[in-house]
Amino acid sequence: MNLSRPDRLQRLDALAAEYALGTLPARTRLRLARVAQVDAAVAAAIRDWELRLASMADAAAPVTPPPRVWLAIAARLGLGLASAAPSVHANVPWWSRLAFWRSFALTSFALAMAFGVTLFGPGMRAPEQPIVAVLAGPDARPALIATMLRGERTVTVKVVGAATVPAGKSLELWLLPKDLPPKSLGVISDSGLVHVALPAPTEVALANVPALAVTLERAGGSPTGAPQGPVLYTGKVERFD
């Protein structure tokens, strides 16, 4: 690749175009990438072509990635940990961050619509109306559905789309009381139907609890009683009364 000839610019642009299009043979591609690392003009030519071509990329049919992709990203970046947001939120625990509440409020609305839970409107109330929380990740796909009955001391968690938990990790379910730290309900499995004990009858345990969350913790759950891992799923507690 001799780029010092007079027609350098034109040849460079042709190479950059085929680099961006992806048709360069493997070795030429590697060499050009190496040159781009030290030559700003080459890097700029490639970037211009990437943007030109990307203006045509929108027609690829969207395919929703499996939930485990977000789980892996969140785990790798430690999202949900106060330490992951260095400058702005350094001293603020994740559960009191506005951003967190905003994101969960958005998804819970979408989920309520998706699941038709609002079908239980006023005047249609069944005699034994459960309290429901549909927990989802940022992709808004339902992962777990938690149901509780008044007067009972159990949360029934049905896993509908949770990602498989990596070895050495556990899912932990939390109550998120308003203005108070999260309260663990214990570790749950990543499939099937799970029954989790509540510390008090439903209406007492859930008073002042607008939402539930699931975090990814070390096997057996957080040893400190406070969540340490990333938040995977959140869901608003829906009361139909």
Binding site: R52, P62, T64, P66, L77, S87
Partner: protein, 182 residues
Amino acid sequence: MAKTALGDEAAFAELYKQTSAHLYGIAVRILRDGAAAEEILQEAFVSVWHHAGSYEAARSHPSTWLAAIVRNRCLDQLRRRELDTVTLTADDDDGREFVLPSTDPTPVEMLLAGAEAQSVRDCVDQLDAGPKQAIALAFYQGLSHAELARHMRQPLGTIKSWLRRGLERLKGCLDRAGYLRN
């Protein structure tokens, strides 16, 4: 996107929600391997989280920028496979081949439909049939020179000259239309 630079997790999650299906669609189409596409998507978003500060807000829409990152990483992986025939064989045998829906539009139709502005569509449309199809196939399916030659039953030299001519015309037209802001 600017918010991601500040470590705003909600903005990041929202960005994922809005763009992941589109980006995954691009990766799956090029790699034809769901598991490999997942890896690329993961790497792209991890990289975006770390480098959002370098995002050039004035030059393109965030989704355009992300699409360029994802395409580029897919192509790196495709071409690496060519260099490493052992890997290529292993990939062929592991049964993870991603099956594309048969009702897909052709690459040329997609190239035209995907152009975000009328001016871009016009630029694509004015290309001759050969160059247009070669660019579309390379763009949407990540075919190399040799693969294009096989697929289009043309000599390698013809493919190379189609690509060179086609890309030159495309550039001239797009830049005249003021597509690329400098």
